[in-house]
Structures are given as C-alpha cells and as structure tokens.
Amino acid sequence: MDIFIQQIINGLILGSIYALVALGYTMVYGIMGLINFAHGEVVMIGAMVALSVIKLLENSGLPVFLLLLFGLAAAALVCMAVGFTIERIAYRPLRRAPRLAPLITAIGVSIVLQNLAMLIWGRNYHAFPPILPTTSMTIFGATITSLQVAIVLIAALMMIGLMILINRTRLGRAMRATSENPSIAQLMGVNINQIISFTFVIGSALAAVAGLMVSANYSIAHYYMGFMLGLKAFTAAVLGGIGNIAGAMLGGILLGLIESLGAGYIGDLTGGFLGSHYQDIFAFFVLIGVLVFRPSGLIGEKVSERA
C-alpha cells in the first residue's frame, strides 16, 4: 500500500510537469492547428539556462529562493525569445503552405536547438547544484520532499493563472476568437499575428518553468532531455483532447499517473518479463490507443475531418 501511494505521488509530480509542457502544445494547436514539434527543445533550453544562471550565482550568498527566481527569470526570458523566433522564422511564412511543410521546419528547428545546446553546454549531463532544501515529509507512509510539494503547487497556480488569462481577459478573448476562426477574428479587429506570437511566448514561458522543475526534480539537465519530455507532453495533450486547455492539464496528470503506476507494477503484471525500464513505452501505447479509439481525446470536441 505504501508503494501504491508513493507511486501516486510520483505520478502527480510527473503529471504536473507534463501538464505544464502539454499546455504549450495545446495552446499552439488550438490557435494554429499545428503541432509545435520544437516545444520539447524549448523546455530543454529553459532547464539549461536556469541551471547555468543558478550555477553562476551559487556562491554569491543569495538566498535559495532568490537564486531560483533569478534562474527562472533568465530561463523564461530566453525561452520567450526562442519561442517568438521559432514562430517568426519557421511557422509564419508557411501559414498557407501544405500541412507537411511546417511540420518539417519544426523538425528542423528542433534539430537546430538540440545541437545548438550541445555546442553551448556540451554532451555531458549537468548536475543541479545542491542548494535545494532536502526536508521531506511522510504522508500515509509515502515520502514527499518540500521541493516536490512546491512543484505541484506552482504548476497548479500557473494553470489557474492561465485559465484566468484565457477566460477573463481581453487578450484571452482575442486568443479564443483567433482559435475559433482566424479570418473572422481579423475582421473583428483582432491582430492575429500578434495573438499568435503571444501564444508562442506564453507557451514558452510555461516551458521554462517546466524545464526548471524537471531539472530540479531529477537534479540533472541534458541537451537531449527535451525530446522524450516533449513527446510525452504531446501525448498528454492528445489524451486530454488537443486544443483544449483543461484537457491538457487532465491529460498531463493522468499520463503521469499511468506512467508511474505502470512502471511500478509492470514487473509484477508480466511475471518479471518486462521491467521498469519499459517506462517510456507506456506513453506511446496510450498515444496510439487514444488516437485509435478516441481521437478527440477525453474532453476534446469532436473535430470533423478536414477536406
């Protein structure tokens, strides 16, 4: 039973990170109908920048809270700039091109970002500086560190903030209008180019937060970390119903739970034939299952086939 609760808690932590990244995918998809393949790499850039800034200031004597805040601010700024540039260079010129074209530029961008990161930060794993408090508490026999509590809380706060932004503000209304129908929105006086750029910038800022969380949680950052994370977050977005903000959150949490429970129990279920190193395949099976049986996701609207 302790193990079960521990896995649930691990799943929640993992899930809130997935949810933050999934939001980036789902917002862009909702507004442009396009999968931003390079989003996972933006998360990686966020993690790397945050880590570098924190390492740089590590011995400055600043309190841990400020260190993290500076790291996060730097990461968010860099990621927002990267997101903005990606949209400008790789997606905007191709808005009217066949759907294959932006997908291929997206793959190109993701290769470029990954290798740029490799040139800047090298091939090695970077360890997170040991500045974080290691106090932990016990709930129903399962341990959770204060960092992990913070991760879940911050993720929840960011999501609530995003919901308010989208549902309550003027900007959010413009975003919803653009995703409903860009050309009509334009006729109503919405500057859709600005809105699309803005969507990318918000998504990238969330990615920066997620990047810092991942690297803090696993105490490690790596130029290749964005790929798998991006893929799983995308799965989460599809699971919840791509284009749907609440769906991305739900999908993220669910996928986190599925993964951690799956990895915890796969050994027992298959009689030891498959071990926990198969953790990564759950996401793919979930993805294929959702796309085959319920392509609109759990709470997504049914989209008719585009002719």
Binding site: L94, I107, L119, F284, E305
Partner: protein
C-alpha cells in the same frame, strides 16, 4: 508543358541520345568503385556502399511519404527489423546460419508485416498525428531491441549482435576478394555491385509502381483522400499497401546492412536515422524518383565530407577544435531542412505536380495553357 521546356522535350523525343546517356551512365557506375577505391581510398568506397543502402531506404520511404503522402517518422524501425532478423538468423547469437537468399526475403516479409501492423491502427489519422504515432512506433521498436536481453536474451540489449555472417551466395562470400575469370574483385567492390544491382532493381520497381494503377491511387489519396474515396479507390487497402511496400524495402536494406556491417545495435536505429531518411526524401524532392536518389546520395556523402573536413579546417583556422564537428554537422542539417522548406518547399529536384502544388498554382490552369 512541352512548349515551356523545349530542350527537355526534344531530349525525350530523341531516343538515341537517351540510349547514349544510359550507356555513359552505366560505364560511370561500373567504373565508380575503382575510381573511388584508388583515388580516395577504401573508407570512401564504404561510404558509397552505404549511399546505395540509403537510396534503397529513401525509395522505400518515398512510397509512403512521397506517393501516398503519409508522413512516417518511424521508418527506421523497418530497417531495424530487417537488420535484426538477419542478425538473429545468421550469427553465433543463436548459432543459426541460414542462407542469405532465405533471410533477405524473410526480412522483407517481416518488415512488411510490421508495416501493416503500424498501418492498421493509424489509417484514420492524417498529417501530424500520423507523424507522431509513427515516431512513437519507431521508439517502441528501439526500446524493445534495447531491453530484450533479459530475462531471455534475444537481442543482446545495448551491446548489439556481432559476428554476423557476411553476405554470401553458395560458397562465395563477399567478405573476401572474389576471383572470377582471372579478375579479382575486392570485397568492397563486390558489395558495391550487389547493392547497386539491388538499388537499380528497386528503382525499376518503384518506377513501375508509380505508373501503375496502384501508384495513381496513392497519388490520388495524397492529393485528396475524400475525392479519392469518392472515385472508388479502396483507400484503406491502398494505404496499407503503401505502408507494407515501403516497409519491405526498408527490411531488404536492413538485412543487407547487417550482412555488410557484421554488427547491429539499437543505436543504429534511433530517431535521427528516421529523420535522416525523411530528409533525403524531402530535400531531394518528394515523390520524384531521381530527386529522392539525389537526396540519398547527397545526404550520405555531404555529411561525411563535413565530418572529415570540419575538424581539420577549424584546426587550420583557429589552431584548435572550437566546435564539435558532429553537433555542427547536425546543426547545418536542421538549418538545411528549414531553409529548403522555406525557399524550395518541393525539394531540390521536384516532380512537376508537386512543384505546382507547393507554388499554389492550380494544375488546371497549366492544362488550359497547353490547349
């Protein structure tokens, strides 16, 4: 069309010129290994051999992506299936040593089966969704290859399988120089001729497929699936066929790779390889066979030139290696993808229909001009 390109039209009509061109081409292709082998050394000859394998792969993927318009990001999985089947059936791993003429077709069949297996659940998906699912499929195959060493050791895990039998026919093995009528053909040259022959065969099959009923059905699905369905095309079967055919080409290439290399490991079949093959198709010119061949040759040779060149050039300029040549190579690769898509979206050597489509011209206007 003819009026726009008089030179090409004349050339096509002039059959003797075409015959002469193909004879010259044949002589060049036949002499190539000797020129490269003596001029640049055996390492380059190996690269040319690999170029042949990549051409086969690219032509297989071209069926799926170029003809049928289904973006497949996990294509390398079929290459892996072919390679691992060869490795398992002709190596000390299980002590099996089946003959090549049995394994290669079996590899093609198994890869084709996997193609259908991937195709069946994904038939309803389009475009970007399909891309992600195929990517996931490719990763699943790689994860299994990586981990199927315990509790029963099948694939030998990340270490891979070594000591694979070289390609051999009867008593003749391609791993050693072959004496034939007083000539001695070195091993790499023999591989070259074998791969060239098979690549030409695959080119032939693809050209025939392109101009067949099936090929036209693929293109119809690519252009407009609903319209194709309305025209009486069984889109489900035709799409499955595209997956299966494309995959089986990949399986053949994979088997040859295993026999040529003598060693397979999951590392050779990662996502980057899938993307590499996709780039060959896309950069060369989706759906256009000469374009895809050009793409395959270019993307095998250019990175190698870069790999050999980038280090020494940096040493000469700065006195030390500032930038990791491997990362630099991939960086340029990604940039090339973006630039080509932005400025030449139909590829370097596109087919005529694709070019019009990407330019946004309608094909009917051109027909009117011709009237």
């Amino acid at each position: 069309m003819m009026a726009q390109l008089p030179g090409l039209g004349q050339f096509r009509r002039d059959k003797s010129a075409a015959v002469i061109a193909s004879i010259v081409m044949g002589i060049v292709l036949a002499a190539l290994p000797f020129l490269i082998g003596s001029g640049l050394g055996n390492s380059w000859l190996r690269i040319v051999d690999f170029a042949m394998l990549y051409i086969m792969l690219a032509l297989g993927l071209n069926i799926v992506v170029g003809f049928a318009g289904l973006l497949d990001l996990g294509y390398i999985a079929f290459y892996a299936v072919g390679a691992y089947l060869y490795a398992l059936l002709a190596s000390p791993q299980f002590g099996l040593h089946y003959p090549v003429w049995l394994i290669i077709p079996a590899g093609a069949a198994l890869a084709g089966f996997f193609g259908a297996l991937l195709g069946a659940p994904t038939l309803r998906l389009r475009g970007d969704y399909l891309a992600i699912v195929t990517l996931g499929f490719g990763e699943i195959v790689r994860i299994f290859l990586n981990n199927l060493n315990a509790p029963i050791n099948i694939t030998n895990g990340p270490q891979g399988i070594s000591g694979i039998d070289p390609l051999h026919f009867g008593g003749v093995t391609l791993a050693k120089p072959i004496s034939f009528l007083g000539f001695t053909i070195p091993s790499l040259h023999a591989y070259y001729y074998l791969f060239l022959g098979l690549a030409l065969f695959i080119v032939f099959v693809t050209i025939r497929l392109e101009n067949s009923r099936i090929g036209r059905a693929w293109v119809a699905i690519r252009e407009d699936e609903i319209a194709a369905k309305a025209c009486g095309i069984n889109t489900r079967n035709i799409k499955l066929l595209a997956f299966t055919m494309g995959a089986s080409f990949g399986g053949v290439a994979g088997g040859l790779f295993a026999g040529f290399q003598g060693f397979v490991s999951p590392e050779s079949f990662n996502l980057m390889e899938s993307i590499m093959v996709l780039c060959m198709v896309v950069l060369g010119g989706m759906g256009n066979i000469p374009g895809v061949i050009l793409g395959g040759v270019m993307l095998t040779i250019l990175p190698e030139i870069f790999r050999h060149g980038a280090g020494p050039v940096q040493l000469a300029l700065f006195g030390k290696i500032l930038l990791d040549p491997e990362a630099l190579r991939m960086l340029l690769f990604g940039l090339a993808l973006i630039v080509v898509m932005l400025y030449r979206p139909a590829g370097l050597w596109p087919s005529t229909t694709r070019r019009r489509e990407f330019k946004g011209e309608s094909t009917t206007d051109v027909l009117k001009e011709g009237e």
